[in-house]
Symmetry: C2
């Protein structure tokens, strides 16, 4: 490790810590048994980046739209494609809150518990504070605090989010590490001076849609999962104390 150890680990959440695809596929097909849940989950998630970009472009001019609002707008827009135009208000609301109930990847909770002994750990997610708080309570994610795009008034990959974590903790950017399963997120964090760790999540989009998780030269800290990241830092700390 060429750099100093970070003080704070900030985690991308959707895909990195929790398995949005399986959870949304399951909840949507429970609510609407006729549909292809996996396809529905992917359609919903596909609306995410454009919605985020529109919201980020409006920053400053319009009141803040949190991710619950954006998730609901995307849901309303995809329901007709699945023949679900007549879904009730109650069901739309319930399904939107499925994003508050996402399951963690099998390694996440134990790894976060270990990493929490070594660092301050926080989400840095585009999910709103209540979504992340309910998710943590439901899934047992042991965050030290809950940071969100909502705290900084900007969506990732805006620099205000990554630099915001450093500022909140009165740290230099290189004393913070972003942990994420997406290069776009890591690239933006690195451009702000943060350290980065890539986490392979090959089945983020479903087991039948294996994602390319090849190493990238920009992010040499490349880990199979969060458990491997915890192993890595445990080892490093042991060497450090010898």
């Amino acid at each position: 490790m060429p750099q100093e150890l970070p003080h704070v680990l900030a985690f991308d959440v959707f895909g990195t810590v929790v398995d949005w695809h399986s959870s949304i596929a399951r909840e949507s097909s429970e609510l609407a048994p006729g549909i292809d849940g996996a396809k529905f989950a992917r359609a919903w998630r596909r609306g995410y980046i454009p919605a985020m970009q529109r919201a980020q472009a409006e920053t400053g001019d319009a009141p803040w739209k949190n991710l619950d609002v954006l998730h609901r707008e995307i849901l309303d827009s995809i329901l007709p494609d699945f023949g679900l135009d007549d879904m009730s208000e109650t069901d739309r609301d319930h399904l939107t809150h499925a994003w508050h109930r996402l399951d963690p990847w099998p390694d996440s909770v134990a790894a976060l518990r270990r990493l929490r002994k070594l660092f301050v750990i926080t989400p840095l997610s585009n999910g709103n504070i209540s979504l992340l708080t309910h998710m943590a309570k439901n899934a047992g994610l042991p965050w030290d605090c809950v940071l969100s795009a909502e705290v900084f008034g900007h969506y990732k990959p805006a620099p205000q989010t990554y630099l915001g974590v450093a500022k909140v903790f009165n740290l230099e950017p290189q004393q913070v590490m972003l942990v994420a399963a997406h290069h776009i997120d890591l690239d933006a964090a690195q451009d702000c001076g943060l350290q980065t760790a890539y986490i392979e999540r090959p089945f983020e989009n479903g087991t039948d849609r294996t994602k390319d998780v090849s190493p990238s030269a920009r992010h040499p800290l490349h880990m199979k999962d969060l458990g491997a990241l915890a192993d890595y830092f445990d080892q490093l700390k042991r060497e450090d104390s010898q």
Copy 2:
């Protein structure tokens, strides 16, 4: 209980959850053995409300000054009164961070663990996010998330803080309860429509300066400590489920 049960309990922290007086008295007299630590702690804390009011008055015009910065300014201003003009930069910084290491009252951790099973629990403190995060990690406070004046860009008792909690959780103000040992805080929260619970902390300012903890008609939910509040809600939930 005439009102619906709250969904979120928001806690004042300094004095309500943690014992700032003993902790600051101890750390300051460890660092400067000649001084009266209890008096020093009270002098430091006395600067708090005016500093907060000045910072709140500047909101919008000036960049946000977090509580670490205000604590440091107050410290610098009181050191001469204790003959400590020559305290080093390192020691001033160390002592300012004593507010990140405050001890909980003996009942706090166990009571918060119980209340967390019934509600979403969060601090709503003028302490900055990193202060509250380090404090929680150090003292074992099991918050579900960390809300602070810093998140809302206003210091309590500004309405934006109390209403901010409701907004973040997409709740009506009356679905949030503020738990605090100070009437000024509870009055302001109640003016915004929040439910309130008063916690007696007679020795907040030291065992030799017993605080008046008489009940107030405005805040009929009046509890000896957080353990008693947890007992109260446990009982209420039991009756509710019968």
